[in-house]
Structure formats: structure tokens, C-alpha cells
């Protein structure tokens, strides 16, 4: 085929080096079976959805305590498709945190945190912390009375963290009190600092997995059946993304996320329920006695939870061979968390 007869896309493919690119992607392998392997890709996709919908919301949102609530009301009520865009953003945030947590548990249950995947594990944890931070700061931005209450309670829970608690509380509030500074602080972190840091972490996480793929079988065990990354795995991943789009759109269209009343520091905080991912934690803290084994009850519980979190982060070093006990512990932990969340909702 002469140059003149080549299809128009040939020019672009030539400039992009498309055939070399697809050949190198085809050389990479991914496991054939296992839904769990798609959770990372789903999390990444939901992050991208949040970035895109967040940029759109930014065009109408005003990060000023005096007008923030009104601007969100206007987005929902007056801007064409504003309610849908906000719904997508809010639900994508929830699904994003759900996928992050499911991804974490899937790695623990399959014990793929063990050597040589320490760096992927640690970067994944850092991404989880930033992801929850992204959700927490985002929940403050509407500056509704509920958002105001969540900022108060969330930052107060952080104060119970050993050693760094007081500094964390001040940092989360942008000062000593929940005030307009809290909104400004949350806004800056939500739209710039956290997404930028998360993008870098996701890139690092992908690089670590590229260098040390998570599906490689251990010596002496049956080899894992694999497929080429391109097109086989990416097409399957695209199917999963299509599925999550359907779920997301269904939620955004049919399940309302009411805004409530504007923040009023003079009005009593209503019975604020924290975001669902804090429910188990909040349930323990709210029902803890004021004093526990001679310590402040909530502080003791938050300290214990932090200790447990550190053990989980250090799993590749604490349990480098990947003991089956860890799998059972993860299932039991999942069950306890689900029961606590259910009891908080009842």
C-alpha cells in the first residue's frame, strides 16, 4: 500500500508508534481469572471520573463560607445537568473509597502483599489514606450544617490519634475552630494537593506492579494462567468500567443525596452520621465508656485502631511469607466492620 492509499489513521498511528506500543503492551501479561485483579483498575477509573466531574463542578462552585452552600444549591437547582454532575461526583467518591477498601482486603485475603510486593503494598496504603482524605475534604465543601458537623466530629476524632492528634486536628480545621478557614483549607487540599499527590502515588503503584507483577506464582506451585495485557485484559477491564458506569449513573439519577440546611454554628448539631466508611469506627467511639482501663475511652480506642493500622501497613514485614492466618483474620475483620456499620445504621 502506497503512502497515499493508507487510511488517514495510519498517519497518527505512525506518529504515535502505535504498532510498537501495542506490541510492548501485548508482551505484558495479566492473570486470566480473578475479579479481584480488576478492582485496582476500577479504583483508577473512579478516580478519573471524580477528576472530570470535579473540574466541571469547579466552574460553578464558590469556595467562600458565605456563598459556598448557595453555589451548591444553584448547581443542583439551576445549572443544567448540575444535579446529575454532582450526583456522579458524590457517588463516584463513595464507590472509589469502597473499591479502595475492597482492593485492600482482596490483597490481604490473597496474601499478595508479601515480598517482593512491599512497595506496591505501601504505595497502595498511602493511596488509601489520601483517598479517604479526598472524600473527607469533599464532604466539607458544600458547607451545609451536616458538612459543618462532620468537620467538627471528624477533626475531633483525629485529636485522639496518639502523638500527632492535636496537630492533625488543627490541620484538618485550618485553625483551632471549625470556621471559614476550615472550608478554605479543605478546598485547597481537595482540588489540588490531594489529587496531585494521589496521581503521583497511583503512577508509582503502577510502576511497582510493572516491575514486580502481583500474579507471579510462587516456586513449586501451579503457574497462574495469564493473558496479554493488550488487548485481552484491557478489553475485560473496559467491560468492568462499563458496568461501574451503569451503577454510577443509576445511583446518580435515582438515589438523591440531599444537601440539607446551610451551616449554622449557632444551631445545635443534628444527629450527624459520619460517612459510611467511618461508621464502624464512629460506632465504637460513641459507645465507648468515658474511661477504659484507666485511659480516656475514645482516645484509647483510636490509639488501639492506629496500632492495628500500623500492623496492617507493616504486614509484608510482619508476615513476609503470607500466612493463612492473615486471610482468616481479614475475613473476621471484614465481618466485624460490617456488623459495626450495620449496628450504627439501625
Amino acid at each position: 500500500m502506497s503512502t497515499e492509499e493508507r487510511p488517514r489513521t495510519g498517519w497518527l498511528q505512525d506518529r504515535l508508534g502505535w504498532s510498537e506500543l501495542t506490541a510492548s503492551l501485548s508482551a505484558l501479561r495479566a492473570p486470566r481469572r480473578g475479579f479481584m485483579f480488576y478492582l485496582g483498575g476500577l479504583t483508577l477509573f473512579l478516580f478519573l471520573v471524580q477528576v472530570a466531574s470535579g473540574i466541571l463542578l469547579l466552574l460553578h462552585y464558590r469556595p467562600d463560607a458565605a456563598v459556598a452552600f448557595d453555589s451548591v444549591e444553584e448547581i443542583i437547582g439551576n445549572i443544567p445537568y448540575g444535579s446529575l454532575i454532582r450526583g456522579i461526583h458524590v457517588w463516584a467518591s463513595d464507590l472509589f473509597v469502597a473499591c479502595l477498601i475492597a482492593h485492600l482486603f482482596s490483597v490481604v485475603i490473597r496474601r499478595t502483599y508479601k515480598a517482593p510486593h512491599e512497595l506496591a503494598w505501601l504505595s497502595g496504603h498511602a493511596a488509601l489514606v489520601l483517598g479517604v482524605g479526598l472524600a473527607f475534604t469533599g464532604a466539607i465543601l458544600p458547607w451545609s450544617h451536616k458538612a459543618y458537623g462532620q468537620a467538627r466530629i471528624g477533626s475531633e476524632l483525629a485529636r485522639s490519634v496518639p502523638i500527632f492528634g492535636e496537630a492533625m486536628r488543627r490541620f484538618m480545621r485550618g485553625g483551632e475552630e471549625v470556621s471559614p478557614s476550615t472550608l478554605n483549607h479543605a478546598f485547597g487540599f481537595h482540588v489540588a494537593v490531594l489529587p496531585a499527590a494521589l496521581t503521583l502515588l497511583v503512577a508509582a503503584h503502577g510502576f511497582f506492579l510493572y516491575r514486580k507483577p502481583a500474579y507471579v506464582a510462587e516456586p513449586g506451585t501451579k503457574p497462574v494462567e495469564t493473558i496479554p495485557l493488550y488487548p485481552d485484559f484491557l478489553v475485560r477491564q473496559a467491560v468492568a468500567w462499563t458496568g461501574i458506569i451503569v451503577v454510577l449513573m443509576t445511583l446518580a439519577l435515582f438515589v438523591d443525596r440531599p444537601l440539607g440546611e446551610a451551616a449554622n454554628p449557632l444551631a445545635p448539631t443534628a444527629a450527624v452520621r459520619p460517612p459510611w466508611y467511618f461508621l464502624p469506627f464512629h460506632q465504637i467511639v460513641r459507645s465507648s465508656p468515658a474511661e477504659l482501663i484507666g485511659f480516656n475511652g475514645p482516645k484509647f480506642i483510636v490509639g488501639a485502631a492506629c496500632g492495628l493500622g500500623l500492623v496492617v501497613i507493616a504486614l509484608p514485614f510482619v508476615d513476609p511469607r503470607g500466612s493463612k492466618i492473615t486471610t482468616w483474620a481479614a475475613w473476621i475483620m471484614l465481618l466485624i466492620l460490617a456488623l459495626l456499620a450495620a449496628s450504627a445504621l439501625l
Binding site: R152, S181, P265, A270, R286
Partner: protein
Amino acid sequence: MGGSAAAFAVAMGYPVARFIEPRPPAESGPASVGKVEEFPVGSVKTVLVHDRPVLISRAQDGQIRAFSAICTHLQCIVGYSAERNQIECPCHQGVYSVEGQHLSGPPPRDLEEMSVAITDGLVVVTGPIG
């Protein structure tokens, strides 16, 4: 190489950390919350003192007292119930008396009392007691 990178990180990191550190409140110290007549005998009102909600309670004998309106349990904002003549936290059902004493529910201690002065007919909250 590593030393240079570390020195660069510290040289850049310190100013950045100081920049994002929350600033101390622009306003502090005593704050006037209104005229004495605005707080009738037997009333409990919530006012804002440097972004912090504060309850101003005026007893039957005319004495004015101020309490932090922040629940000592998980920092929700409490409110006065005229119907039950008590201070309530709707978050987790903590109850305090109009003197700020913890009566029931999960709060571990009384509401924080703040010192009040009457200056030129104005109620001035001068800060926490102790």
C-alpha cells in the same frame, strides 16, 4: 548526591510546611456579645465568640454565666431546650443542666465555663475559667 537531595528537600519542605500550617486566629481575647438587656432573666442564648459557639445563661437572680456550647463528648454543638429547661446534645443524647453540669448521656465532663464581665452595659466574654 543523597545528601544534596536531602538538603534540597529540607530547604524547600520547611517553608512549604510553615506556609500551609494553620494561622493563629486573627481575633482573640475578650469579646463583647451584646447588651445585658439582650439576655433576659431565665434565658439561655447561643452566641459566637471568635468562631466558637458559646452559651450565655442568665439565672433567675440575674447572674450571667457563659459556657462553651461544644459538647465534651465528640464536640457537637449543644443547644438549650426551653421545654425541658436543660442543655442537650442531639448528636449522642448528652444532657447538661443550665449551669453546664453533665446530667446524663456519654459526655465525660461538664461544659467548659468561660469568664464573663459586664462592661458599660455590655456582656463581655473574657476567656475560659482556669
